[in-house]
């Protein structure tokens, strides 16, 4: 009798704890080894791009909260910048600083979630995740005291931001910024040299720089492979050109490097936050923009560096009050272009941490 087993199909999801949302994959297994992988998405599909065509530009900003619901501020910012470029709207300087502050806070919160769940996938069940949630909660508290919402912030507007942060915001922010470096040290001590974590992540899910670029990878998934590409540096928006910060990159392109990239980026975010708090000028937080906004005929592709990479908005205007075409470039979806190649020949637990290291948000994949 032949001892090798027949390949079999294993279904994971759509609601498995390690799939980070309503994400389903079918894998063809040959014993312990994955022979093929097929991802099945669309369980959260709300047809945002079609709905956007019958809403005004401002009414579309809340959709960006619900696309990438772990980084609502970055989505808000990308769309607001796009509308401003399309309609030729200016932004007060203070609003630009507030945007940077909230976008960087969002990055810290999102990276905490990404790294926490990755470590959870790798076997450190819940402890590091809940440690990282501690900081994330404080950031969400800051969001709540400013705009009333923790996740679906709807904070950025064409022409500025919706609210000036309240007086109690600034002491709380300063406290958090002072506290964060120590917390990051704590995680590094806990995880960076942890033998089990290294065994689960070193040399796993390697993406070469050539593949990363050709596969349209962005964000930490690209930088983990050693490509120093960050839109905050390459195409500075808001006031990012006034801050001194570095772009951390990996060397091997494995799961560990992507994890470390996020950790280092959190440190850089703290650096940016400190400078932004020191520099922020007084003034209005929003310019008056007509409610019935009719941008001239044209199109714009606006993009920001979100926690998961290039958050792009392709807006086509026909001169009407609603966009003729609204396309959201979702880094979570496009970063999965190489998933099938990465999974082939890997074992199932390795594929799970590889997926965790790419850091997907299903709301953004499905839109």
């Amino acid at each position: 009798m032949n001892s090798t087993a027949e390949p079999y199909v294993l279904n994971i999801g759509p609601q498995h704890p390690s799939t980070h949302g309503v994400f389903r994959v079918r894998v063809v297994m040959d014993g312990e080894v994955i022979r093929d992988l097929d991802m099945i998405v669309g369980y959260l599909h709300r047809s945002m791009e079609k709905l956007a065509e019958e809403r005004t530009y401002t009414q579309n900003i809340p959709f960006t909260d619900r696309a990438d619901y772990l980084a609502a501020m970055s989505g808000n910012l990308g769309l607001a910048l796009g509308i401003e470029r399309l309609a030729g709207i200016d932004v007060p300087e203070r609003a630009s600083y507030l945007r940077v502050i909230f976008a960087e806070l969002q990055r810290v919160a999102s990276h905490a979630m990404a790294n926490g769940t990755l470590v959870s996938d790798a076997g450190a069940w819940q402890t590091p995740l809940l440690y990282m949630f501690r900081e994330r909660e404080k950031i969400l508290d800051l969001f709540e005291m400013t705009c009333g919402a923790r996740l679906t912030t709807n904070y950025m507007r064409a022409g500025g931001v919706s609210f000036e942060p309240p007086a109690e915001f600034w002491p709380a922010l300063n406290e958090l910024v002072a506290e964060l470096p120590g917390r990051i040290d704590e995680y590094m001590e806990l995880l960076a040299d942890n033998e089990i974590f290294l065994a689960r992540t070193r040399g796993i899910g390697i993406i070469t720089p050539e593949d990363a670029i050709n596969g349209s990878l962005v964000g930490p998934a690209l930088r983990g492979s050693g490509v120093p590409w960050d839109l905050r540096k390459a195409e500075p928006y808001c006031v990012y050109d006034r801050f001194d910060f570095d772009v951390p990159v990996g060397t091997r392109g494995d799961v560990y490097d992507r994890f470390m990239c996020r950790m280092m980026e959190t440190r850089e975010s703290v650096r940016i936050l400190k400078q932004a708090i020191a520099q922020i000028p007084p003034g209005p937080h929003k310019n008056d923009v007509p409610l019935a906004l009719r941008p001239p005929v044209g199109e714009v592709y606006s993009r920001v560096e979100g926690p998961r990479g290039e958050n792009g908005f392709y807006l086509v205007s026909d001169g009407g009050p609603a966009p003729y075409r609204f396309h959201l470039r979702a880094p979570s979806l496009i970063n999965l272009s190489l998933l099938r190649e990465l999974a082939r020949g890997a074992s199932l637990p390795d594929a799970v941490v590889t997926l965790g290291s790419i850091d997907i948000v299903v709301g953004e994949i499905d839109r």
């Binding site: 599909h45 047809s47 079609k50 019958e54 596969g215 044209g298 392709y314 009050p321 496009i334």
Partner: protein, 203 residues
């Protein structure tokens, strides 16, 4: 107009392409170039391999329904030279849109082309795995096409009636929402004739 800060001017790209691939460029604009849909893979391969354009990454691929034709829009990015190139493939055949897949040049087109096929119904020749992405196989329509009516358009209860724009919009007063009686969709066709555009029908 709203070009990106590092966007290459269409003329520069078009001039270089004209010399390398004669006949491929059919339109030029300050911000983008328009190319024949059957030559798009050659154009992108040339831009990808060219040293002076170095379009290493396909950062975005999407499509626009222009009623008479489709545009497939490629946003290309050079990471080393830090510039962006916008290429639009004009797909004239609105009934049966088909153009070559750029997957052989950019692996990042894999899911983006599937998304365009799923929601806009444009087929990509040479794509290794062209299936529906979000919707299921056999779903009868392509929702992002302009002839696909959304719920607000069918019921006439749009979210913001004062600012609504419809395919059948009244040309004289572009801000006025037409009532549902004017929207011709199968079973409503008979009532549309009776209502004749008078206010209130269908509500």
């Amino acid at each position: 107009m709203p070009a990106g800060p590092h966007q290459l001017l269409g003329h520069r790209v078009a001039d270089a392409l004209e010399a390398a691939l004669p006949g491929a460029v059919i339109g030029r604009h300050v911000e983008w170039i328009e190319v024949r849909s059957d030559r798009v893979r050659d154009v992108l391969r040339w831009l990808h391999d060219s040293e002076s354009f170095d379009a290493a990454q396909l950062s975005n691929l999407t499509s626009v329904d222009r009623h008479t034709h489709f545009e497939v829009v490629y946003h290309l990015q050079s990471l080393d030279l830090n510039h962006q190139i916008v290429v639009k493939a004009i797909v004239e055949d609105h009934e049966n849109p088909l153009l070559p897949s750029v997957y052989p040049v950019y692996k990042g087109a894999l899911l983006q082309e599937r998304e365009v096929y799923d929601l806009m119904g444009i087929r990509f020749d040479g794509h290794p795995d062209l299936r529906r992405l979000f919707l299921w196989e056999g779903y009868p329509a392509f929702p992002l096409r302009k002839d696909f009516l959304s719920l607000g358009q069918i019921t006439g209860k749009a979210v913001n009636p004062g600012l609504q724009r419809f395919p059948f919009e009244d040309k004289e007063s572009p801000d006025r929402m037409l009532n549902a009686g004017n929207i011709v969709t199968g079973e409503r066709e008979a009532s549309a004739g009776n209502a004749g555009g008078s206010a209130g029908a269908g509500h």
